[in-house]
Symmetry: C2
Subunit: 605 residues, 2 copies
């Protein structure tokens, strides 16, 4: 086990090695934007998937919806620049909500974020796998397996202590940005010169199953809102920027919003113009790329860059989930194991929990991006809304310079996100959003239950009028079954911890008992032997009764039970010996005022 | 767990309740003959199954073969009457072989018998299920499940301490004997009066795939020899007879042989005359019964009686296997757990092992009697032969009155059984007998390995020049992580077992360490605090190094490590606390010279 762990995770690192890297703006853009930018890979497709229910003509609505989402993006960006200004030490929704709206709101935001991080991993990995299986359709049947392998690989990289190191992240992110921009430019150029697609796609006739209703449009809008997931990432990571941190972060979030806007609007517009229909087995982006550049090497670059940035997006959750778990655990709302750093200075338990939950979702939803999407946006918009409302409360409370403008911005943000939350929750409720709505109160309830437990424990362990008594009284019983080296070894130990040891023998057979008395007298050096009768051949029962009797009669603080045991040289030898010591240990484990000591004698062969 | 066990197995019984029932001859016949008599249910069919390979005309050989097997039965019966005379305390093959031919021969007989008992259960249950599914063909698809349920039911009955009580056994055995005799008489009557079968059976034409060779005849004979399994049972159980035990047992074995002879020859003769062909889904006995009595109530009585006596036959192995295991374990050739009597005075571990092995065989061989038969007879004839050879040696050694006649009888028995063993082994080798030939040396090797281990343990535990030293020296370390009630409780205990306790603190954080020193000084009552640095945040590693250092420098006999621990009030609270104590315990478990003591503080809520 240990060597397997070393192979996967590497040698341990010293506590003093916790790094403090500062990132330049272009590198920070790459590090913090992969989640937001990568949603270009699936957001357009999710809009089309809803619209196509009303037939091919309904697809023309996509551009309008994309523009609405673009506006929302601008509002969010301006709002989050306020948050960056206010929380230069990092302003995640948990902290901002707890700080300004109180603990319950903070916990709701925390629960929403935890769910969100798990979904980011599942959705991103599912979409990344879809990018790969679009290019190599033979792999389509193995998508769940591929997804789980990807999650495991990311988890192991994180357990090894993968830092959000600039070099690693910059290359795939910029490769993605450049290849998408290139695709959009080429696509627009083809349209202008009126050229036909390189690879004409099979146009299967679409049978409308619904009408173009306002509800349908809202549903399409709600699906497209997944493009906005991750835009808050920069506001969480302000301390990683160079000085002046807040200014650099604000500049970077603006850049990110601009790039996201261009890519998302560009892809959605082209998809409409090229009349791409969403279909099983190939993503919309892949279809578009094949129509514009054919199955050229550039096509494969686009698919690879898409898959890579999606893996990076999943990876950001592997930094965020354990960090938020750490905050919650530090505040005693999650198990304290999540506070510990592992061998490689990572919050390893959080990484493992996240990997398991994300893999579970991939299995349950069969690695389908579309199936997971309805769950995704709800959590995001809950934390957006709480965060913005928190900012409004903060402006009201502090009344810093320009607080009126702040209220206006964050107020607009809060109202918009609240409205979108209602739309997302309402239109997607039956498709899966209800799961999140159910999970959040459950998680918050769990947080409080854990908190209550820790408070009760602390109360019980608190030192009050405690005077250390001069010495506790205790009775030491040595359980003997025979007279041999192992027993005398334990007797030796028992005499070391108390001058008054009592040997206890459970009698199962008259003849053997007679023998035992004789031999004990010869070898024990005067330690008294108590013989307990056992009509039902149980060793444990008479022992329990005897210990009861001692506790009642002698009023000692502790009864110590010394159990001689021998350790066989080979594992299968254990099968050849009675496991009486184990059973006795189990019986006394949860009993007050008794201490069980196993004294082991090691056999050589 | 405990309450489930009580429900299935019942309340424990006191050791003094071991019963000593004596059986009258008719009852003893029922108790000890179910194994032998029940083989009438399948032995004829096994002969026909081989002969039918050479076509329908070859079936006429069946009567001749049955007569040969009948002669063999007479020889065995006379031989075993000698064994009864010589071993009035019970003469199983293991004891007789070990006594007269030495330990290795005894172990071979023991291995053969253990295999045999497992097969008796599997074959009897499979045949019993076949009797039921012949009458209710709808159950045929569930035969493996039915078999396992039957084994489990018999095992539970035995774990409850089902005694071989006369009343329970007499009824089904005599019901079987009477209904079979009735069937034979009615069948013969029909033949004499020249009546046609009540239910004419579909006569599917048989395509011969083999010729009538001597090998085929020998194979059919070998298959039929399964009729002889269990004839030795009375010789194992002589002490259960009324006085004079040996005389009563000899009389009873003669009766049993007579009944078996009539039933087996009768059924085989009728099967030939009625031209019954073995076929899948219905046993030969069931076909015969339907031809003679139709599907009348009497037909169902026959099938039920057959199934019942087969269950009883399986049940005899549940008495024999644990008893033989007990003998082998007492002689240190099997794990000593097999010596213990369970709550209900039964050798429970043996019962459980037998049930598991028999169920495994039923699954592996899909509940098919025919598939199991080739394995069956080999083990039986190995133990027959060894037992008879042992008797010859005994006569030669003791030269009691009439020893020459004894040698003649047992010599004839030995030669006959050895010849049959060769025939059975040879003709059935590729069909499965080789499995038994392979298993026996493996089992004997295992017996010796276990024996060697126990001898080595005894040698290492033996008291030699051992003088109890005045008192062992020990160092007591108390591992502390904080200062609270749980820790002070453990400190209190540590001070009870030694006046010189040392508290050990693993430092993970400078600030916390400073706090700890301060608080320890205030509360510990002067117990020194050792602070261990841990650059890699491991609690276990620095502790191991410190214990090493103490063992080297202070040369103490024992280092005692006291671990404070608190026991949460609810099971799920365990998830909320670090399991450090558990990990430390695991690290020191197999280390010499260290003793780990968990001192527990019980939380109320």
């Amino acid at each position: 086990m240990q060597s397997l762990k070393r192979l996967l995770v590497g040698e341990p690192k010293a506590t003093a090695q916790v790094p403090h890297e500062r990132l330049s703006n272009p590198v920070a853009l790459a590090v913090f934007s992969s989640d937001a930018l990568s949603s270009v890979a699936y957001a357009t497709e999710e809009i089309l998937l809803v619209l196509v229910l009303a037939g091919a003509t309904a697809l023309t609505w996509s551009s309008g919806i994309a523009v609405a989402i673009g506006l929302l993006l601008l509002i969010l960006t301006v709002s989050y620049r306020q948050t960056i200004q206010a929380y230069p030490a990092g302003g995640g929704a948990y902290l901002v909500s707890k700080d300004n709206l109180g603990v319950p709101a903070g916990l709701v935001a925390g629960a929403a974020l935890l769910i969100d991080y798990v979904l980011t991993v599942s959705v991103s990995v599912a979409a990344g796998v879809a990018a790969i299986t679009s290019a190599w359709p033979a792999l389509y049947g193995q998508r769940v397996l591929l997804g789980i392998v990807a999650v495991a690989a990311i988890a192991i990289a994180n357990l090894r202590g993968l830092r959000e190191s600039g070099r690693l992240f910059a290359a795939p992110t910029y490769l993605f940005i450049i290849s998408m921009l290139g695709l959009i430019v080429l696509g627009l150029a083809r349209l202008l010169w009126g050229e036909t697609p390189v690879v004409p796609l099979p146009s299967s006739p679409v049978v409308p199953v619904a009408a173009v209703t306002p509800f349908l449009i809202l549903r399409a809008f709600a699906s497209g809102c997944t493009a906005l997931t991750g835009v808050e990432a920069i506001s969480d990571g302000v301390p990683a920027f160079r000085k002046p941190e807040a200014d650099n972060a604000k500049r970077t979030i603006a850049w990110m919003a601009g790039i996201l806007l261009i890519l998302f609007l560009g892809i959605t517009f082209l998809a409409r113009e090229y009349e791409v229909l969403p279909r099983e087995g190939e993503t919309v982006v892949s279809q578009l790329a094949r129509m514009i550049v054919g199955t050229s090497p550039f096509y494969y670059v686009i698919q690879a860059a898409t898959a890579l940035i999606l893996v990076l997006a999943a990876n950001t959750s592997f930094a965020d989930f354990p960090r938020l778990s750490y905050f919650l655990a530090r505040d005693r709302f999650l198990p304290r194991q999540l506070v510990n750093r592992g061998d490689r200075l990572v919050f390893s338990n959080g990484v493992i929990v996240l990997a398991l939950l994300a893999s579970l979702l991939l299995v349950l939803f069969r690695g389908e991006t579309h199936a997971l999407i309805p769950l995704y946006a709800v959590g995001v918009f809950i934390s957006f809304t709480l965060s913005q409302v928190g900012m409004v409360r903060r402006h009201l409370r502090l009344r810093e310079t320009g607080w009126q403008r702040g209220i206006l911005i964050n107020g607009a943000g809060a109202v918009t996100t609240a409205v979108v939350l209602t739309v997302v929750g309402g239109t997607k409720f039956v498709n899966g959003a209800f799961l999140v709505v159910v999970m959040i109160p459950i998680l918050v309830g769990m947080f409080y239950a854990i908190h209550r437990h820790y408070r009760q424990v602390a109360e019980q362990l608190r030192l009050k009028h405690f005077d250390l008594p001069p010495r506790a009284t205790h009775a030491v019983l040595l359980l003997v079954s025979d007279v041999h080296m192992g027993i005398l070894n334990a007797l030796n130990y028992a005499r070391a911890i108390s001058p008054e040891v009592e040997a206890v023998y459970v009698s199962l057979d008259e003849e053997a008992t007679k023998q035992m008395r004789l031999r004990w007298g010869l070898w024990s050096g005067g330690v008294p032997l108590v013989v307990l009768e056992s009509p039902y051949r149980s060793v444990v029962q008479p022992l329990i009764e005897y210990v009861n009797k001692i506790q009642v009669e002698r009023k000692v603080d502790f009864v110590t039970l010394v159990l001689p045991e021998f350790i066989p040289a080979r594992w299968w030898h254990h099968l050849l010996h009675n496991q009486t010591a184990l059973r006795i240990r189990a019986h006394f484990l949860f009993r007050k005022g008794t201490v069980v000591i196993n004294v082991r004698f090691h056999l050589e062969t």
